[in-house]
């Protein structure tokens, strides 16, 4: 019974954490397949989102009206943070990645430099100390506690916002011309180019959407934990694990992979409870091992088809 | 296999020959260097190789032709171990080499070239040539330190071979050029010369004259003939019909992944099915 209680409790945390990973993974997966390289700056893009939300929230200040324990101004700040992150990504794409002619490995290495620059600038402005949004921490919701679920309204807000964003993306991908072209390009960039899709436009939208979602994920990560300059970098590998598990280039695969990896990371303590001696300190290690195994046995990921894996 | 009439499928021919050879003559090496039997490879819904069966006899220059998408390159990749077949077998000198790693197949005497060789950045032509020789002691890390003399000795011998073969190919003036600076046609010559350094029993050439100017193409053809006379067996894919018709005998015609026919250049030229296949496949 104790194990079950623990499972419920951890699952609740896992869902929140997974929501954040989902937001990070979608962009990484899209950029991987459409821009054609593993973007090691994606984690730090999330950090940019977190800190720009912090800046805007500081300017706007708290408001009396609040939704799910969050002042309305926080949501405004969040939207502004998303916009700033998208702009930062676009500027980076235009002035750093675009002029390069060095292949995907060169771009990969360059993105590490970009990640360092993002992180360094943030650390210069905000110091390495941790910060929080100026919002009161909430107690877990009472009526959920009777089911042993410890969730705050903030957690609910994170999950709900992630769902809104993901559904929005889904509608975009399924029901708009841009979305269809994005999926086609992600599936097979060379075929898309050959069939006359204006890939440049798709690329730019990919950066906007990918970075925007990452920015939102970063802001929520700041709400879930706290803000530190390394927050995104620390999450990067977990997001890679999610993207690879889901299959690079597959948006829905990334969502599924992110959910699973998020759950694995958060549910690791259960292993000790059921007698497997792997402590929660190895939660991330477990995620990475899953990633390596997936790369070996099914590089196209769980959701990808053999062709879409890009192998 | 050249005598097999246009009617007889390649399968019949190979089974006949297999039957002839089973008894006796062990000391004499098999007359068939390469045996391809019912080779099959699917990519999703696309069947790239569909029960392809043919043989390459020792001492021949066997051509492999077919319209675009007929599966020629797939067959090459299946033979040389770069693809794993879904079904079928490949035998090299009677040994089953189906699905084993490319380097092992190469070690057994089958060397292949690529349609579009990538330039070896940072190497000169003679450096690039020196990769060809097999079983170099200097390729074993510890011997660099335990037996530097032997490494140097072999390297000197290989160097001499490189110079000799570059001269034979009349490209010795390129020896010290960066491998990235030479023309596509010269690169093809270098590739062929390098492949010869591996002392192959059978050499698979993937479009040796694609994108090569006619003068160089003739030179390549002369070299292939010369090497053939010296005893190398060839299997080659080529789009240039006059090139392959003048060089290869017999010729295996592929269509949609399987062997349509095989025969002498004359037989292929006059065969209606071949004409149909090429017309259907979008012309020669």
């Amino acid at each position: 019974m104790a194990v079950l209680d623990q499972l419920i409790e951890l699952t609740a945390d896992g869902v929140v954490y997974s929501s954040i990973i989902v937001l990070g993974s979608i962009g990484l997966s899209l950029i991987y397949s459409i821009a054609g390289f593993a973007n090691f700056a994606h984690g730090d893009t999330m950090t940019v989102g977190a800190y720009s939300t912090l800046v805007f929230f500081g300017i706007l200040g708290g408001t009396s009206i609040s939704v799910l324990g969050l002042p309305l101004s926080f949501f405004l700040a969040l939207l502004s943070g998303i916009a700033v992150t998208a702009v930062v990504a676009l500027v980076t794409e235009r002035f750093v990645y675009k002029p390069l002619d060095i292949g995907s490995i060169g771009l990969l290495i360059t993105s590490i430099g970009v990640a360092f620059v993002y992180r360094a600038l943030i650390q210069i402005q905000f110091s390495a100390d941790s910060r929080r949004y100026d919002i009161d921490r909430l107690r877990p919701i009472e009526w959920l506690l009777q089911y042993n679920i410890r969730m705050t309204e903030h957690d609910i807000a994170i999950i709900a916002s992630a769902i809104v964003l993901v559904v929005g993306l889904h509608l975009l991908l399924q029901h708009t011309d841009l979305g269809r072209k994005m999926r086609a390009t992600a599936d097979n960039p060379s075929l898309a180019r050959a069939s006359g899709i204006r890939v440049r436009r798709i690329e730019l939208w990919t950066w906007i959407i990918g970075a925007g979602l990452a920015g939102a994920g970063g802001a929520f990560l700041g709400l879930f934990n706290q803000l530190v300059p390394r927050m995104g970098f620390n999450l990067l590998l977990v997001i890679f694990a999610a993207v690879i598990l889901g299959g690079i280039g597959s948006v829905y695969g990334a969502m599924l992979g992110a959910f699973l990896i998020g759950m694995v990371v958060q549910l690791t303590p259960i292993l000790t409870s059921i007698g497997i001696p792997i402590g929660s300190e190895y939660a991330r290690a477990l995620a990475f091992l899953i990633m390596v195994v997936v790369l070996l046995v099914r590089p196209q990921g769980i959701a990808g088809e053999a062709v879409g894996g890009g192998g | 296999m050249s005598e097999s009439p246009t009617e007889g499928t390649a399968t019949d021919a190979s089974t006949e020959r297999a039957a002839e050879e089973t008894p006796g003559d062990d000391e004499e090496r098999s007359e068939i260097v390469l045996e391809v039997e019912n080779l099959r490879k699917e990519f999703g819904a696309l069947v790239a190789a569909d029960d392809a069966t043919f043989d390459v006899e020792r001492g021949t220059i066997t051509g492999l032709i077919g319209p675009n998408g007929a599966g020629k390159s797939t067959i090459f990749n299946l033979i040389s171990g770069f693809y794993e077949p879904d079904a079928g077998t490949v035998r090299l000198n009677g040994d089953d080499v189906t699905g084993i790693e490319p380097y092992k197949i190469a070690n057994k005497g089958l060397i292949r070239t690529f349609q579009t060789p990538r330039k070896l950045e940072g190497m000169t032509v003679r450096e690039a040539m020196l990769i060809g020789p097999q079983r170099q002691p200097g390729e074993s890390f510890h011997k660099l330190f335990t037996a530097p003399g032997a490494v140097g000795e072999r390297e000197r011998a290989n160097m001499a071979d490189v110079e000799r073969i570059l001269e034979e190919f009349e490209i010795d003036h390129l020896a010290r050029q960066p491998a990235t600076d030479i023309s596509g046609g010269q690169m093809k010559l270098v590739e062929l010369a390098r492949a010869m350094l591996a002392e192959p029993e059978i050499l698979l050439l993937d479009e040796p004259v694609a994108g090569v100017n006619p003068t160089l193409a003739n030179k390549l053809a002369d070299q292939i003939r010369r090497l053939h006379e010296q005893g190398t067996t060839f299997l080659l894919i080529e789009h240039d019909m006059s090139f392959i018709m003048s060089l290869a005998d017999p010729i295996v015609v592929l269509d949609q992944g399987s062997v349509l026919m095989e025969g002498t250049p004359g037989e292929v030229r006059t065969d209606e099915r071949v004409a149909d296949a090429y017309l259907g496949g979008g012309g020669v």
Partner: protein
């Protein structure tokens, strides 16, 4: 310090350099002169300088190791820090005073353990990852490096966990002569500027011994790697880097070659770790921070992939970047009032009271290093992706060519070529 053969035949060596190499050599000479001047005038503590030089050698070693993987074979190894850490921990476990399993042993055993550990882990990581596509290898190796770090952090019964291992002796402890040499050497006073006496005493000699150690490691690694690079073995690696399928088609077991290149590189990285343990005399899991990996990458890219000398050069430049900000911070305040450069102040475009508390000495060294390294990566990739000292010479086993092996291709990449300088 750029090349050992500089020492053996300076004139012939110089004559045979490309213009870039001369540029880099000139830059290094200038740097040495400046550093010497700083030391003689007492601005830079000579002992501290030797410490920095030791760090430079350490990064140079790691870069050599990575160059043997990325530069030779094209393997993207993002687990440099893990192998560095394994070397350091191997040394520490055998020699540290608080080591939970061994401890207080002769540093030679630490060296051996460090190398064995890293070889085993290299094979274990290599088996699954070396079959992967290049960019997957990057991600997977970074992930596995993190696993190594987590194990060292959490398996305190072997590694003393987060508190780290202390009381590591100097490398030459227990050796005849060398063990006590720093104490026996006399104290030397140098007075170039009247009133500013520079004293070279026990700490200086001790650091000098460390520098000797790292130079020995470097020379050893360099000679082994250079011979390997010029051999048929190295040629196969370079072929794999350019076109792995071609190498396979010519009968080379590329997986095995990649494994050898990977393990060899990891051993050199571990050697750097062993040196570090005896330089710092203390190791903790923080030494496995992945940032180190990327510093080493910067060194190799800056030096030029495939160039051993470039890797060494890059290693020292990276230390200058890492330690430069720290050094600048120690300069007198008058120097610093102008230091937080204008562009950083301009960045404070939303100069809100709470959000931006730019103190007068704005930047702690951490982020400035990070910024410089990040910018350096972006700039190199943009303007000089081949690095400062890209390899330009034919690499053929030396005694197999009758002519001078150093000759570049006839119509090579560089315009002028020096005389017949030999080895």
């Amino acid at each position: 310090m750029a090349d050992v053969s500089t020492l053996t035949d300076p004139r012939g060596y110089w004559g045979d350099l490309t213009s870039e190499e001369r540029g880099v050599a000139g830059f290094l000479a200038a740097a040495v002169l400046v550093l010497l001047a700083l030391m003689l005038t007492g601005v830079l503590n000579p002992t501290y300088f030797l410490f920095l030089f030791g760090l430079g050698g350490m990064f140079g070693l790691m870069s050599l190791g990575l160059n043997a993987q990325w530069g030779y074979t094209g393997l993207i190894n993002f687990s440099v820090a893990a192998f560095f850490g394994l070397g350091a921990y191997g040394a520490a476990i055998m020699t540290a005073s608080n080591s939970p399993i061994a401890g207080d042993m002769n540093p030679i055993f630490g060296l051996v353990l460090g190398l064995i550990l890293s070889a085993i882990v290299a094979i274990a990581i290599g088996i699954p990852t070396l079959r992967l596509r290049a960019d997957y290898l990057a991600i997977a190796s970074l992930g596995l490096a993190e696993v190594v770090r987590l194990i060292i952090l959490n398996e305190g019964q072997w590694t003393a966990g987060s508190q780290g291992l202390r009381g590591i002796p100097a490398f030459f402890e227990g050796w005849p002569v060398l063990s006590t040499l720093p104490e026996t050497l006399p104290q030397v006073n140098i007075e170039v500027i009247p009133g500013r006496v520079v004293t070279l005493g026990f700490p200086f000699w001790r650091q000098l011994l460390n520098v000797t150690l790292v130079l020995t490691f470097m020379a050893g690694a360099y000679l082994v790697l250079r011979r390997a690079h010029r051999s048929p073995w190295g040629r196969v690696l370079r072929t794999i880097r350019a076109d792995e399928d071609l190498a396979k088609a010519l009968g080379k077991n590329t997986y095995f070659f990649k494994m050898q290149s990977f393990v060899l590189g990891c051993l050199v990285m571990a050697l750097a770790g062993v040196f570090f343990a005896h330089l710092q005399l203390f190791v903790n899991p923080g030494n496995l921070d992945p940032t180190t990996t990327f510093y080493v990458w910067v060194a190799v890219i800056l030096g030029g992939a495939g160039s051993n000398r470039g890797a060494l050069f890059g290693g020292f430049v990276v230390v200058a970047i890492r330690e430069g900000p720290r050094f600048i911070e120690q300069l007198p305040p008058a120097f610093l009032t102008e230091f937080p450069p204008g562009f950083l102040r301009d960045l404070a475009f939303i100069t809100d009271d709470v959000l931006f508390e730019l103190p007068s000495i704005a930047i702690s060294p951490g982020p400035l290093q990070l910024l410089l390294v990040g910018l350096l990566i972006v700039l190199i990739m943009r303007f000089r992706p081949e690095g400062m000292l890209p390899p330009q010479r034919e690499l053929i086993w030396p005694d197999a060519v009758d002519e001078n092996v150093r000759k570049r291709p006839d119509s090579g990449v560089r315009e002028q070529r020096g005389g017949d300088g030999d080895e």
